[in-house]
C-alpha cells in the first residue's frame, strides 16, 4: 500500500509553526530559576511532535536537529538537568533555527544546515557527549524497517521456544494465540505448538482473566531470529521466553525437496526458501524508496504552492453555527417558495414576514461567514515578548511587556498586515520611549519600564493601544526637527497634538543618531500609510516624563465597510463611515475662496479645504449647483477635507469589491460595491481625495496667516 505522505505536509508545517510559537512563548514566560513543570512539558511536547512528524514525513534534517533539542528538554523535564539562562537562550535560537529549516523545506529549498550543525554541536556539548549516539533519526528509521536480509546461509537452524507468560499477560491486551499465528505466518506454518498445563490451578482457584498456560513452540524452519524476537518483543518483560536453536534434520532439503510431498517439513521449508528470498527484497525496497523519495516529493509539491499559508483554522463552533444558519435559510427559502406557488393578495403579510426572516437569516449568515476569517489578535501579540526581550537586552534596558485583550478578534488579512507596523511602534517605544535604568531611577520611576499592548473592540473597529511609561515625546525637538525639514515654519504655533502628529509626516525622524533598531529607513510615515491602507488610523498622545500612547484603529474586516451613500448628479458614491467627521448643510457664504483656486470652509475655528466631488470625479450635473451645499467633512492622515455633494442618502453596510481585479487602480476610488438594485457604486478613497484636492494643511495654515 503506498500512500503519498506529501498530502500531510501542509498540516505538518502548520502545526509545527504553531508548536514553535508555543515553544517560544513558553520559553519567554518561563522563570529560569524555577521553571514551571507544565510550561516545560508544553515546550517538550511541541519539540517532540515536530521531531516525530518530521521523521515520519521524511524531513530528516529537521528530525535530527530537533532530536537533540528534545533530548535536552527531556532532561530538564525529568529534573536531570537544571534550566539556566544559557540553555534558554540556546533553546530560543533553536526555535528560530527549526522554523527556518521548515520554511526552507516548505519553499522547496534545500535547508541551510550551517546554523543547525553549529547549534547541534552546542547541544551535544551540553549533553556531555552522552547522547553522541544521537545518530540520525534516519538511521533509526531504517533500523525499524523490516529486518535485515534473512540469513539464508545460516542454513537450517530451527528454533525451540519455551514460552511461559506471566498470569497477567492477557490484561495487557497481548494474546498468545495471535502471537502463534504470527509465528506461523513468518514460518509458513512450519510450527508446532504444545501447551503446558502444569500451572493450571483447580477450577475453583482459577481466575478466568488470568493466563495459566505455558507453551513450547518448535519452528521447523530456517527463519531469521529477529522475526521471532519481533513476535515476543512486547511480552518479553511479562514472560519467560527461552529461544534455542537446533539444526534442522536435513540441511540440504532446500535443493532436493521441491517436489516431495511425503515429507511435510521438507516441503514446507522448500517453499519457504523460495518465497522468502524475494520477499525481504520486495518488502524492503518500497520502504527505502519512501524514505528517499519523500523529501523530493515534498519539494516538488511545496514549490508548486506558495509558502505562505493560505488556509485558516476555524473552530468547530463557528462552522456549526454556520451550518445552523444555512439550515434556517433553507427553511425560509422553502417557506417563501411555497408562498409563491399560489400567491394571492391576502397573503402579502406572510410574504413580508418571510422576507424579513430572509433578511435576518442573510445578515446572520454574513456575520458568521465573516467570523470565519476572524482570528484572535494573540497571533500577532505572541511575537512581541520575544521582540521586547531581544531588543531590551541589546539596549541594556529593563522592560516588562504587559499584554491584554489577546482574544480580541480581527480579520486574518488585517492581522497579517498589522504586524509590521506594530513591530515598528514597539521598537520605537523601547528604543526612544523607555529610558535607561539609571535615568529612570534618577527620575524617580521604577527601574523597569513597562510597555503595554492592549486590544479591544469599539464601535465596529478594533482598537490597538501601545503604551509606554517612558520619557514621552519631546515636543521641542519635534518642532525643531520639523522646522529643519521644512515641514513647518518657525512662526507656526501648533497645539500639542498637532506637534505629535508631525512625527507621521514623510521625511521626519527624531532619533539623534539613527539607531540600529528603529532607524531602519522606515519612518512613522510608513507606519501611518500602512495603517491607512487598511482603512485604519493612528494617533499619538504623550506626556513629558510620563510616556506615550499610540492608538491604532482598524476596521474588523477588509471585506465589509459601513458606508454613507451620497448622490452627485445621477451617480451614487460611498464614503467609509469611519472617515466622516460630520456632514453639514450650508450656504455658499460659508465657503471662502483662497487665492482664486482653492475653496476653504470655515468650520468653527478651523479652515477646511473644500473639494467639489462632481468636479474631481467629472460627473455631469445638469442643474447649477444649489445654494444649499451639503459638505461631508472627512478626515484622513489627520487632515480634514470638506467634500461637496448634492444629497446625502442612507447609510448601509457594503461588501467591498475590487475594481483592480478586472480594471485598474483609479485615483480617488478605493473599490466598488453592488447596491440593492444590482447596480455598481464606487467607494471613495478618502486619503486619495485629499491629495486630489490639491490643498494640504500647510496651505491652510498659510491661508490662515494671510487672513
Amino acid at each position: 500500500m503506498s500512500i503519498d505522505l506529501s498530502q500531510f505536509h501542509q498540516v505538518f508545517y502548520e502545526e509545527s509553526y504553531e508548536g514553535l510559537d508555543a515553544m517560544e512563548q513558553g520559553l519567554l514566560e518561563m522563570d529560569v530559576e524555577a521553571p514551571d513543570d507544565e510550561v516545560i512539558n508544553t515546550i517538550f511536547r511541541a519539540a517532540h511532535s515536530i521531531k516525530g512528524g518530521s521523521g515520519t514525513f521524511g524531513f530528516n534534517q529537521v528530525a535530527e536537529f530537533t532530536h537533540v533539542v528534545e533530548t535536552l528538554l527531556d532532561e530538564v523535564r525529568s529534573g536531570d538537568r537544571a534550566m539556566n539562562q544559557s540553555i534558554m537562550d540556546l533553546l530560543l535560537v533553536s526555535v528560530d533555527c527549526i522554523r527556518s529549516l521548515l520554511q526552507d523545506l516548505q519553499a522547496g529549498d534545500d535547508p541551510d544546515l550551517t546554523q543547525a550543525t553549529d547549534l547541534k554541536s552546542q547541544f551535544e556539548a551540553i549533553l556531555n557527549g552522552e547522547s553522541a549516539s544521537s545518530e540520525s533519526v534516519g538511521e533509526v528509521n531504517s533500523e525499524d524497517n523490516t529486518a535485515e536480509p534473512i540469513a539464508n546461509e545460516g542454513g537450517g537452524k530451527g528454533y525451540k521456544i519455551h514460552f511461559v507468560p506471566e498470569e497477567t499477560l492477557l490484561q495487557t491486551g497481548n494474546e498468545p494465540t495471535r502471537m502463534f499465528r504470527q509465528l506461523a505466518e513468518v514460518s509458513d506454518d512450519c510450527i508446532e505448538v504444545s501447551a503446558n498445563l502444569e500451572r493450571l490451578p483447580s477450577l475453583t482457584a482459577m481466575n478466568p482473566e488470568h493466563c495459566y498456560l505455558a507453551w513450547d513452540i518448535t519452528i521447523n524452519k530456517a527463519i531469521d531470529r529477529s522475526e521471532i524476537d519481533e513476535v515476543f518483543e512486547w511480552v518479553i518483560d511479562d514472560a519467560e521466553v527461552v529461544i534455542t536453536e537446533f539444526d534442522l534434520s536435513d540441511s540440504t532439503i532446500e535443493e532436493q525437496a521441491s517436489e516431495q510431498i511425503e515429507e511435510p517439513i521438507a516441503q514446507a521449508v522448500s517453499s519457504e526458501v523460495e518465497s522468502i528470498a524475494p520477499e525481504p527484497a520486495a518488502d524492503k525496497a518500497p520502504v527505502e524508496n519512501t524514505a528517499e523519495k519523500e523529501p523530493a516529493k515534498a519539494k516538488a509539491k511545496a514549490k508548486a504552492s506558495t509558502p505562505e499559508s493560505s488556509s485558516i483554522r476555524v473552530s468547530i463552533d463557528k462552522v456549526d453555527s454556520l451550518i445552523n444558519m444555512v439550515g434556517e435559510l433553507v427553511i425560509t427559502q422553502s417557506m417563501l417558495g411555497q408562498l409563491g406557488q399560489n400567491f394571492d393578495i391576502t397573503r402579502v403579510q406572510r410574504l413580508q414576514e418571510g422576507l424579513a426572516q430572509l433578511e435576518h437569516n442573510t445578515r446572520e449568515l454574513q456575520e458568521s461567514v465573516m467570523k470565519i476569517r476572524m482570528m484572535p489578535i494573540s497571533f500577532v501579540f505572541s511575537r512581541f515578548p520575544r521582540l521586547v526581550r531581544d531588543v531590551s537586552r541589546t539596549l541594556d534596558k529593563k522592560i516588562d511587556l504587559v499584554l491584554s485583550g489577546e482574544n480580541t478578534e480581527l480579520d486574518k488579512t488585517v492581522m497579517e498586515k498589522i504586524g509590521d507596523p506594530m513591530v515598528h511602534l514597539i521598537r520605537n517605544s523601547i528604543d526612544h520611549g523607555i529610558e535607561m535604568p539609571d535615568v529612570r531611577i534618577a527620575a524617580g520611576k521604577p527601574e523597569t519600564g513597562t510597555v503595554e499592548l492592549n486590544a479591544f473592540h469599539q464601535s465596529g473597529n478594533i482598537v490597538i493601544e501601545i503604551k509606554d511609561d517612558g520619557a514621552g515625546l519631546n515636543k521641542e525637538r519635534i518642532q525643531q526637527k520639523a522646522i529643519e525639514n521644512g515641514l513647518i515654519d518657525e512662526s507656526t504655533t501648533l497645539a500639542d497634538e498637532q506637534i505629535f502628529d508631525l512625527i507621521f509626516q514623510p521625511g521626519f525622524s527624531t532619533a539623534d543618531a539613527v539607531s540600529d533598531l528603529s532607524g531602519r529607513g522606515v519612518g512613522m510615515d510608513v507606519v501611518r500609510r500602512n495603517i491607512a491602507s487598511l482603512n485604519g488610523s493612528i494617533e499619538v498622545s504623550s506626556e513629558t516624563g510620563k510616556g506615550s500612547r499610540f492608538v491604532i484603529r482598524l476596521p474588523l474586516t477588509l471585506a465589509i465597510l459601513d458606508g454613507q451613500l451620497v448622490k452627485v448628479g445621477e451617480e451614487i458614491f460611498i464614503f467609509p463611515l469611519v472617515s466622516i467627521v460630520e456632514s453639514i448643510q450650508m450656504d455658499d457664504t460659508a465657503i471662502n475662496n483662497v487665492g482664486g483656486h482653492s475653496d476653504v470652509l470655515q468650520l468653527r475655528d478651523e479652515y477646511v479645504p473644500i473639494v467639489q466631488l462632481h468636479e474631481i470625479f467629472s460627473v455631469n450635473k445638469d442643474e447649477p449647483p444649489a445654494d444649499d451645499n451639503i459638505v461631508v467633512v472627512v478626515e484622513t492622515d489627520g487632515e480634514k477635507v470638506g467634500v461637496v455633494v448634492d444629497e446625502l442618502l442612507g447609510q448601509q453596510q457594503v461588501v467591498i469589491k475590487s475594481l483592480e481585479e478586472n480594471f485598474k487602480k483609479v485615483e480617488g476610488i478605493s473599490g466598488a460595491t453592488i447596491l440593492g438594485d444590482g447596480t455598481v457604486a464606487l467607494i471613495v478613497d478618502v486619503s486619495g481625495l485629499s491629495k486630489m484636492s490639491g490643498t494640504s494643511i500647510k496651505q491652510i495654515d498659510s491661508a490662515h496667516k494671510a487672513a
Partner: protein
C-alpha cells in the same frame, strides 16, 4: 470490412485535426467585420447602462455587475477612435475573459452588432504590417472569409488602459 471503414473514419478525423483552425466570433463596426477568439467569449449581453468610473479614459463606459464581479465595459469604437456611436437595440456587449501572463481579466466590449462565427485556418491568417496605424497593436492579423476581409483582434492589448 467494418474495421476498414473505422480506420478510414479515424483517418478523416486526424486529417481534420491536422489543419488547425481557430474559431472567431465576428461583429460589425463601421461596416468592417472584426473577429475575437471565441474561446475568450464568456457571454453576449444587451447594452445596459454602466456606472461611470471617474478619471478613466473616455472609451471606458464604466463598470457593471456581472454576477457579483465588477467588470469594466469598453466602447470599442472609442478605443479605435472611430466616430461616436448611437447605442441602439442591436448594440451588444461581448464579455471576454482575456488571458495574460499574470492571470486573466474579464472585460466587456461594446460593438454595433454581432455578425457570425467562422472557422479560420491558422495558416490563412495574414500578419501584414500596418505601418504607423496606431490601432495596429490591437490587430492580430487579417483573414479572408467568403471573399471579404475580417480583422482579427489581439485581445491582450486591450488590457492596457492608456
Amino acid at each position: 470490412m467494418s474495421t476498414v471503414e473505422e480506420l478510414e473514419s479515424e483517418d478523416n478525423i486526424t486529417e481534420a485535426e491536422a489543419v488547425s483552425t481557430e474559431q472567431y466570433l465576428t461583429f460589425i463596426m463601421e461596416e468592417e467585420e472584426y473577429g475575437v477568439d471565441i474561446l475568450a467569449v464568456q457571454e453576449i449581453r444587451g447594452w445596459e447602462s454602466a456606472t461611470p468610473v471617474p478619471n478613466s479614459p473616455d472609451y471606458i463606459k464604466g463598470v457593471i455587475n456581472l454576477r457579483g464581479t465588477i467588470v469594466p465595459i469598453m466602447d470599442l469604437r472609442g478605443r479605435f477612435e472611430l466616430t461616436k456611436p448611437e447605442y441602439g437595440p442591436e448594440t451588444v456587449v461581448i464579455v471576454l475573459k482575456i488571458e495574460f501572463e499574470k492571470g486573466s481579466r474579464i472585460m466587456g466590449i461594446i460593438v454595433d452588432a454581432i455578425s457570425d462565427v467562422y472557422d479560420v485556418p491558422i495558416d490563412d491568417i495574414k500578419r501584414t504590417g500596418f505601418g504607423d496605424n496606431q490601432n495596429a497593436r490591437f490587430i492580430k492579423g487579417l483573414v479572408t472569409v467568403n471573399k471579404h476581409m475580417v480583422i482579427l483582434l489581439k485581445l491582450e492589448q486591450f488590457l492596457t488602459f492608456d
